[in-house]
């Protein structure tokens, strides 16, 4: 027996070591959600490698900064001049875009949308990767102590990069970021123009594909792909990339390859989205008037009700027929502007603004005539005056509307806009 053990000692040890590792693998595979059993090994591995990476990256960055900021300044003046010109152009563009955004916000408010927006980001430097083709992730130099938590979105100026996979208390200054081209990642995505939704996944070869788009849909090449917000990690509307090729898949779905906007193979600096705020969209009443108000201004004025009708309305005994008939075209205004949308009755205060209100005194009832917001210019006026009699609320304050209408750009109300758009940039002149 002893001789057999001695003779096959190497082989026995090999089998033993392999068995232990296979057993460990099996345990990890079984516990798909709990990785505590291997946490220590990962911490040791990361702790051994990342300090070296940090030192190297710091040295490289410092050297590059010194060179570029103090020595290599050739062409900086010309570049500065061209950038200033670009800023002027972009300011003009910004004015136009902000008006479009205001309009979109107003329409979203009518539908009771809740919008998500990135309110806080943290810049981080990529210090290393996994070293494996089958595990596409990077390490960043910010970690738990910097406020990084798992499932935070990671982006660059070009587009999304991935999400924070691991940020341990043990590795306080390092976090692991899973890239979108890893085969275990998944991002809710939507095509910009066709509004088709799908799931973005990585492939073993490191490509990015959009899945779950039915094969009978038409997807044009070079169409932009955005985040849909459905994954709970990325806010809606961030750029992912463009469609590079569309092929018929083997099953019912298309095989859509995406070219990521961010260069995932050469990441140096990223932004971690540390805070996403969600708020009910409210139109900016300070800066611009609502299109509905301006349209209401063009409508014939409703004569004041007789006192008896007002009293009835106050006691809540008014029948639906008490609603002035002149409200009918106005009531349809929000709906006609968005024909494909259905407004739920209980989808928030803004939605209830859009719904017709009854002439009764109970403001909680929403089933009849529309309520037009006051546009007095104060921030609180965004709340519709549903408690007030509808006859008075129908008459917008023309002074405010006239003042604010200069910033409204919908084509449908252009006729009501008396003043030209304030497109003059306010940038101070500076010597080039």
């Amino acid at each position: 027996m002893e001789s057999v053990l001695g003779r096959y000692r190497n082989l026995i040890v090999l089998v033993g070591v392999l068995f232990v590792q296979v057993l460990g693998l099996a345990v990890q595979v079984k516990r798909t959600t709990d990785n505590d059993s291997t946490r220590l090994i990962r911490i040791w591995a990361v702790g051994m490698v990342t300090p070296l990476e940090k030192v190297l990256v710091w040295t490289q960055t410092s050297t590059a900064n010194i060179w570029h900021n103090y020595f290599y300044l050739r062409g900086v003046r010309a570049e500065n001049r061209s950038l200033r010109a670009q800023i002027e152009q972009m300011r003009l563009e910004q004015v136009r875009m902000s008006q479009d955004a205001d309009q979109a916000r107003r329409l979203q408010a009518l539908l009771g949308f809740k919008e998500q927006f990135i309110s806080q980001t943290m810049a981080a430097q990529v210090i290393g990767g996994s070293g494996s083709d089958l595990s596409r992730l990077v390490y960043i130099d910010k970690g738990y102590s910097d406020g990084i938590r798992p499932d935070m979105a990671v982006i660059t100026g070009d587009g999304i990069v991935g999400k924070v996979l691991r940020a341990d208390r043990a590795d306080r200054h390092v976090a692991q970021v899973l890239l979108i081209n890893d085969q275990t990642s998944g991002v809710g995505a939507i095509l910009d123009k066709t509004r088709l939704q799908g799931i973005l996944r990585g492939t073993p070869a490191g490509e990015v594909v959009l899945e779950k788009v039915m094969s009978d849909e038409t997807v044009p090449a070079e169409e932009q792909v955005l985040t849909s917000g459905g994954d709970g990690v990325f806010p809606k509307g961030l750029l992912i990339g463009k469609v590079s090729s569309v092929k018929q898949g083997s099953d019912l779905f298309l095989n859509i390859h995406i070219r990521p906007a961010a260069d995932l193979s050469k990441l140096e600096e990223v932004l971690v989205v540390t805070k996403i705020d969600e708020r009910q969209t409210e139109p900016d009443q300070k800066g611009s008037a609502r299109a509905v108000d301006i349209l209401a201004e063009r409508l014939p004025t409703v004569p004041p009700k007789p006192e008896s009708a007002v009293k009835d309305a106050g006691t809540g005994t008014a029948a639906p027929t008490a609603t002035p008939k002149s409200l009918a075209p106005q009531a349809s205004l929000p709906k006609t502007s968005l024909p494909n949308t259905s407004v739920p009755a209980t989808s928030g205060p803004a939605a209830s603004d859009a719904k017709p209100k009854p002439a009764s005194g109970d403001p909680s009832v929403s089933s009849g005539a529309p309520v037009v917001r006051k546009t007095s210019g104060s921030g609180n006026s965004a709340v519709a005056s549903s408690a007030s009699p509808s006859t008075t609320s129908l008459k917008p304050k023309t002074a405010a509307a006239g003042a604010d209408a200069t910033k409204v750009s919908p084509k449908s109300v252009n006729a009501a806009v008396p003043a030209p758009l304030p497109l003059q940039p306010t940038a101070p002149d500076s010597p080039h």
Partner: protein, 192 residues
């Protein structure tokens, strides 16, 4: 027994002893057995994993190389000790696994097999010249990929794609780099 006959038997016995000794890893008579200092072993192992994680971000083409694999083969063929080879392979492999988000043991198992195989083969073959090292690296690269592929797909259920052009290119690139890595390791090894 005549002296010539005795001499014949003596020579035969000596040949048998020499042959038996030659296939054991402790022998320094037929094959050279080397060792590495613990500090050098640790620095080279961690350094290989570090470079494998760091360089592809700066130079994306570096993903076709597998430095930890080359280091495991280099250590194993120089030491010619199967136990040392498999333990070195498993430690480096687990270290490599630790940087990924995959279950730990994938690289560990693959490099354990490579370490054991390379040291066992190193006993029987002369792996001191560049040509033998080139072929040895090709062979063990394929072994590594097959083991890794089998475990990842069969045991973990990962989606894997075996692409011949990539594998062949990577195999040749690693074999070429391996020759230089082994030359570097030659400078650090010490005769036992």
């Amino acid at each position: 027994m005549r002296p010539s006959r005795l001499h014949f038997h003596y020579n035969r016995l000596r040949r048998i002893v020499r042959t038996n000794v030659a296939i054991t890893y402790t022998s320094g008579e037929q094959v050279e057995v080397y060792r590495f200092g613990w500090f050098a072993t640790a620095v080279i192992s961690v350094g290989a994993v570090f470079l494998q994680a760091f360089l592809p971000l700066r130079f994306p083409f570096f993903t076709i190389f597998d430095l930890p694999l080359l280091v495991v083969i280099g250590f194993a063929t120089a030491r010619r000790n199967p136990l040392a080879g498999l333990f070195t392979g498993s430690v480096i492999g687990i270290l490599q696994d630790g940087l990924t988000h995959q279950p730990i043991g994938l690289y560990g198992i693959a490099l354990t097999v490579v370490g054991f195989g390379a040291s066992s083969l190193g006993i029987k073959l002369d792996v001191e010249n560049a040509g033998a090292r080139f072929l040895l690296t090709i062979f063990f690269y394929v072994v590594h990929e097959v083991v890794y592929f089998s475990i990842a797909r069969g045991l973990i259920g990962m989606r894997m794609e075996w692409t011949w052009p990539h594998e062949i290119l990577s195999c040749l690139a690693n074999a070429v780099l391996g020759v230089f890595v082994f030359m570097l390791l030659d400078r650090l090894k010490q005769r036992t």
